[in-house]
Point group: C2
Chain length 138, copies 2
Amino acid sequence: MRKILMAISATILSLSATDAIAASAPLMVRIAEIEIDPNQLAAYKTLLAEEQEASVRLEPGVLMLHSVAIAAQPTQIRLLEVYADRAAYEAHIRSPHFMKYKTSTERMVKSLKLIETMPILLCAKAVTQADVPTAACR
Amino acid sequence: MRKILMAISATILSLSATDAIAASAPLMVRIAEIEIDPNQLAAYKTLLAEEQEASVRLEPGVLMLHSVAIAAQPTQIRLLEVYADRAAYEAHIRSPHFMKYKTSTERMVKSLKLIETMPILLCAKAVTQADVPTAACR
């Protein structure tokens, strides 16, 4: 089910980019809890992964979209969604790739719960310009 | 409550690193659902954020640790934890910073539920070496 595009990130800390983000509006971070029709689970995952990849690649304000299935209940999908701000989210739900996902998965989704959150800390593996592993946190 | 270390990641896609990861064991991805004593919430968040930052910075196999509080129930904390494999997780829980977190937050945690998951797609904003925004997904 996983996308072929596998990319491991070697992240360079950029002070100028940090400054730009620090000055901007707060992140919008959300959890989605989604239950999928078991007969359409494989098709759903393909459409979801396509939508995630396109959104993060094409939209400046879509910073992360992480999706998982609960191991003991594989039709239960969870997403962690990170947008630069609410405007980025509003733009996202009007994007062609999101609208395609929404329309094509409409009959696959048995329930959808959207949970607004306040980020505490978002940390991912990174490397410095000197190639030293570190953490990029915000 | 947020850490001062704010770093925005400019990610370079590395084919050699991608190949190395593709050949390795599957990721271990987990959700933690934690309820905190409301009187100790601020202290808990500080200890959690310290532990996240140290783990992702110091441990090669701790790839992401993202924590949020549910907006409508701020004592409800959720984590998305991504380890390179199960061995990386086993090393993590024996690390000094994790053991410090575990001991110092023991009386703050009212409940803890650990949920094993199967990743569908993990996608974060990145840039290519030519400085073009893209998605790093796996």
